[in-house]
Subunit: 95 residues, 2 copies
């Protein structure tokens, strides 16, 4: 699990190349290269631009580490939902 | 990177064993078994209990998936800070 968390971090840092955030070009590249298997429309520049706008809380036109972690959280949530629905839902009532 | 996100999710789901959240015992086990290399005090039951209290936003005495993702975000942030400080900081001013 530690390696998984480190991978999430180093993927951002290597894409940002020493900068604090990703510009649109770097964000497009990260999404299309790294997230094609867990997300849809990663081959669509406009879809990625739309997503970037949704993540850009401070409206600086870039994606900082916190905004990136929001994306990761979103992807983790939708993957978790898919896993749970494939297994026929959680037995939430089984205490 | 996709595998990393999936690992973060499946680690929670396999610990929760079909339930929607982790009780204290399962959370202690997950932290001590999975996070020893990226976090301190994972051998201290009281430190983990303290951390669980800090994560428990809805005060139900358990850790749900969102609270777990908050922990992952916290660990990613501190690992990122360590990486950046080891490399002598980001050239944030280099536009």
């Amino acid at each position: 699990m530690e390696e998984a968390i480190k991978t999430v971090v180093t993927t951002f840092l290597s894409s940002a190349r020493g900068k604090e955030n990703l510009d649109s070009k770097k964000f497009q590249k990260l999404v299309s290269k790294q997230l094609g298997g867990i997300m849809e429309d990663t081959d669509s520049t406009s879809a990625i631009r739309e997503m970037q706008r949704g993540l850009d809380e401070n409206n600086d036109g870039k994606v900082n580490f916190q905004e990136y972690l929001t994306l990761i959280g979103y992807l983790a949530n939708s993957f978790s939902d898919r896993q749970i629905s494939q297994k026929g839902g959680t037995n939430a009532d089984a205490s």
